[in-house]
């Protein structure tokens, strides 16, 4: 696998560390917090197909990236900065 890092360009996947599903964590306020946190921490969609991954480019620019990838083929469709474009 090769990930197209928005800062460094295309790099081998071995430069990156995988965190997991890039789904955003829930707000930690409101009445249902413990249930929401349980779901966010422990439950996974785990789809066969398109998946939004979080990868850390430790061997490069050290950015967190949001990578769209097909879990059936490992095809990578694109990567963006997880925190949004740097200003």
């Amino acid at each position: 696998m090769r990930i197209e890092c928005p800062f460094c360009g295309p790099r081998d996947a071995s430069e990156f560390a995988y965190y997991g599903d890039a789904k955003r964590r829930p707000e930690t306020s409101g009445s249902d917090v413990s249930r929401q946190l349980y779901e966010a921490v422990y439950l996974r969609d785990n789809p066969a197909g398109r998946h939004e991954d979080l990868w850390y480019h430790g061997g490069g620019c050290r950015s967190w990236l949001r990578v769209t990838r097909d879990t059936r083929t490992h095809e990578i469709f694109g990567a963006t900065f997880a925190a949004g474009e740097p200003s």
Binding site: M1, D12, A13, S14, Y18, G20, D21, Y38, E39, V41, Y42, L43, R44, D45, N46, P47, A48, H51, D53, R69, T71, R72, T73, H74
Partner: protein
């Protein structure tokens, strides 16, 4: 047919013309008492024990491909019961006891070989951790021996004991651990289940559940609708996909684990050895090939194949441990879809959907669990209560905080 020396000799004289298929390739009937989804070792063992121990014979095992085409036929066949935590150790030790009697039980040669599993340690801290784990094993009746470097050297003289970075200080040995022939385990359970009336139905993928209110009452499959009172899910890496058909979201990620086999050489490695400083484990098959593997690739995958950085990493681990294998050629490598749970331990439990039961979360280590997983899942399906050794394998443990995290890594499946 029961296999014996006598009928083997008889068949040999007749040129092996009269052997019958070991099990029936059945066509689906409209309704069963219990349907097991997934024809791997776990599903087939479950059906076998349902028929044998609980007298429930109106059972079908539905397999989307051919039986044993999942992880049951892809693993590195290591069996052991060297766990630390109380929630795990009693279960894996029960499995080891079942392995010890399996061939007599099934009248099938599963090639169970208790050649020993040795986990190496490389530092004082690691030795202390292994001593603690060994004590837990001894308390559970599993047996364990803490070896120093000299004792390890007597078993495995070719290891790189004086490695500059990770010198080998000793190891934790479970003599009762070893390997078994994975396909034979699948076929043996299939034969035993089929003989007792279980229908084994291949090329039959479950594509949906039939619902009545909060209950599931059957499945949609590529071979039509089939009704059942209860359904047990044992589909390993496909657990999330099949559970999603019943609107369930599981604490599981699917990952790829690779394995490798080398060309055959003369006897070199007597048992199973694991490197304690990286993730590398190796044994030698009866044909002479070295069978080895390491970490999962580490990203969600349904591809049943991995990538090269992991291949390199595994081979580096092997070279650090036993440089003598450096000139061997690798014959094959392959990948399997492992069901990584959030604490690294499995789940055998009812689900919130009435009539649907779950057997999943085996991570990269469920082959050794096959007999006890089948035994305990059958118990749950037949009696609607957990078997005592799987009482901790609850689906709701992540919500209640009763996780069983052998490695202490938290909800990060690629670290377990």
């Amino acid at each position: 047919m029961r296999y014996s020396f006598l009928n083997l000799a008889w068949q040999a004289l007749r040129g092996h013309r009269d052997w019958q298929p070991a099990w029936r390739d059945a066509a689906p009937r409209p309704h069963y008492d219990i349907i097991i989804i997934g024809g791997g070792g776990h599903g087939l063992a479950t059906a076998y024990y349902l028929a044998k121990e609980h007298g429930i014979k109106n059972v079908a095992v539905l397999e989307k491909g051919y039986i044993g085409s999942g992880n049951s036929g892809r693993n590195t066949t290591i069996i052991r019961s060297n766990y630390l935590l109380p929630g795990n150790e009693a279960f894996y030790e029960w499995s080891m006891k079942l392995w010890e009697g399996l061939e007599q039980e099934l009248n099938y040669n599963a090639m169970v070989s208790q050649r020993g599993v040795l986990n190496l340690y490389h530092s004082d801290a690691q030795r202390d951790a292994f001593a603690r784990r060994g004590n837990a094993m001894i308390l559970a009746g599993a047996g364990a021996e803490l070896l120093d470097a000299a004792a390890v050297r007597r078993i495995l003289p070719m290891l790189d004991f004086d490695n500059a970075r990770f010198p080998i200080r000793g190891g934790l040995l479970q003599r009762r651990g070893g390997t078994a022939r994975h396909d034979a385990v699948v076929w043996g359970y299939a034969r035993g289940a089929s003989d007792r009336g279980v229908d084994i139905i291949q090329n039959c993928e479950v594509t949906g559940f039939l619902r009545e209110g909060r209950r599931v009452v059957g499945v949609e499959t590529t071979r039509g609708r089939i009704g059942a009172r209860k359904m047990g899910l044992a589909v390993a890496g496909s657990s999330s996909r099949v559970a999603a058909l019943a609107d369930l979201k599981l604490p599981i990620e699917s990952h790829v684990l690779q394995a490798f086999v080398s060309e055959a050489i003369k006897p070199f490695i007597p048992g199973v050895v694991t490197f304690g400083a990286g993730h590398f484990y190796i044994s030698q098959s009866d044909k002479g090939g070295l069978v080895f593997g390491g970490d999962i690739d580490g990203y969600n995958s349904y591809a049943q194949r991995g990538n090269l950085p992991t291949v390199e990493d595994v081979c580096e681990g092997g070279m650090a441990l036993m440089p003598a294998i450096g000139r061997l050629r690798i014959l094959r490598s392959w990948g399997g879809l492992v069901d990584m749970s959030m604490d690294g331990s499995p789940i055998i439990d009812k689900t919130p959907v009435d009539g649907l039961y779950l057997n999943a979360g085996w991570c990269y280590g469920g082959f050794k669990a096959t007999p006890a997983s089948g035994w305990c899942f059958a118990h749950l399906l037949a009696r609607d209560e957990p078997h005592p050794v799987t009482a901790a394998y609850r689906l709701d443990r992540f919500e209640t905080g009763h996780i069983i995290d052998e490695k202490g890594q938290g909800a990060q499946p690629n670290l377990h």
